[in-house]
């Protein structure tokens, strides 16, 4: 019985390999053939704008902190009316692993993932994208979202006058 099993186990694989040889290869030959990508493919990162055309990024450093390979760096700055922005913003796509943690960490939906993945370069330094390379003229996935209409402090409107914002509380008057 053992011998029979041995013989069967030696002969049958030959049939398997031969029949596989006659099947069509499953390889997708990339430059000529392209796979249909899943809808939520994560690839190149962009910085989006709010509906009024302003940069959404408030330079909070959360993306840079969340990044497991430390490929995001920036310098925060503030303009005259107190709105924060990134003086410079840099993503090194040579290191980026497209994990999407930065986009998840972003409180203002500024940093977002796009499905565009074909942007390889021969020079590694050409993969370091600056803020002007990253910024797009669009709101991305949630185009109508405007962070400052919900939480802006005296930036878009005076304090307390945003549509879903209540007027500031006078902490001295509501003591028990």
């Amino acid at each position: 019985m053992n011998l029979w099993r041995g013989i069967k186990g030696t002969i049958l694989p030959f049939w398997v390999t031969l029949s596989n040889m006659l099947r069509k290869p499953v390889t997708v030959q990339y430059p000529e053939e392209r796979r249909v990508l899943p809808e939520r493919t994560r690839a190149q990162i962009v910085l989006t704008r709010s509906p009024d055309g302003e940069e959404r990024c408030v330079a909070c450093y959360l993306c840079s902190a969340a990044c497991p390979v430390d490929c995001i760096s920036m310098q925060a700055a503030e303009d005259q009316n107190g709105r924060r922005y990134a003086a410079w913003f840099r993503i090194n796509f040579g290191r980026c692993i497209y994990c999407g943690l930065c986009a998840e960490a972003c409180p203002t939906l500024a940093i977002q993932m796009t499905p565009h993945y074909e942007f390889c370069e021969r020079q590694p330094l050409a993969l370091v994208y600056e803020k002007e390379d990253l910024l797009i003229e669009d709101g991305g996935k949630d185009g109508d979202y405007n962070f400052y209409h919900h939480a802006g402090i005296g930036v878009v409107n005076p304090r307390g006058s945003n549509p879903d914002e209540t007027a500031p509380e006078d902490v001295r008057s509501n003591l028990p």
Partner: protein, 330 residues
Amino acid sequence: MENYVAYLLILIKLVLILTMILTMAAYLVLAERKILGRMQLRHGPNRVGPFGVLQPLADLIKLICKEDFVPPHSNHLLFLLAPALSVITVLLIFAAIPFAPPLTVLGHEIPMVVCDLNVGVLFFIGLSSLSVYGVTFGGWASNSKYAMLGGIRATAQLISYELPMGLALVPLVLVSGSFSLTDIVNAQRVLPFAVTQPLAFGIFFICILAETKRTPFDLPEAENELVAGYHTEYSGLRFGMFFVGEYINMALLGSVTTVFFLGGWHGPFLPPIVWFLGKVLCLCFIFIWIRGTLPRFRYDQLMRFGWQVLIPLALLNLLITGGVLLWLRG
């Protein structure tokens, strides 16, 4: 005058056979990669030229351009000698292999073999034993533990499997009554020895699988255990020589099996050389097929199989053949 013509003929045959074999070895590499790829539902190399037919050329250019590295503390002479040995011994055997029946041109009979040795079988066995040195020296001279282990394994394996291989050939010599390969082929005019000597054929086939150092018996270069075995430290064209030597060996052992067991050039309808080449290519496909199918033996299994199964079987076969021949010829 007559002498010059003879020398010229030998030279032409040498050049023809050499180019034929080297081309065949190069395209065996491609064929193996393609066929293995298809067996694993891949395409295999298909970028260089139509269907990848120029891949061997690209590989050659790559190998030539690589750095030729000799590890420090290695034994220089042996390190440089080893790849040459493993190619030369294999190439030399082709000199004794008859490809087709003698051709008659202008009343002269031209044998389709470089030199029809009357001890062709011994020549083959002797040279294939010598080829062990290439592997042993390569493994030992590299001064590397992987190469060393690969060399030890290769030596043990090749020596163990040479015995049953030689023993499997003795019955053929008994039946055909000659050590000459041409006579052995002519003795198979009616029935190839694969039919009349199936046991010897089986033993011989398993042994040449071990001789080519290919899967089920690829312990000497087991990639996942020994990096690349005895040629771990080789690079550039020297590695290429080991590599090509392996594929020439595959073509050689295909031809040798054809000569010994499959009736050489004998076959109906088609011209003899086509039969010979067809049989060799079929055997090469079977080698590749086996590589795509079977996993590797364990070292103790390999040794036990060689010494405790193949050698007794070969001896038994020899005994039976001798007895039957004695009984038949009175």
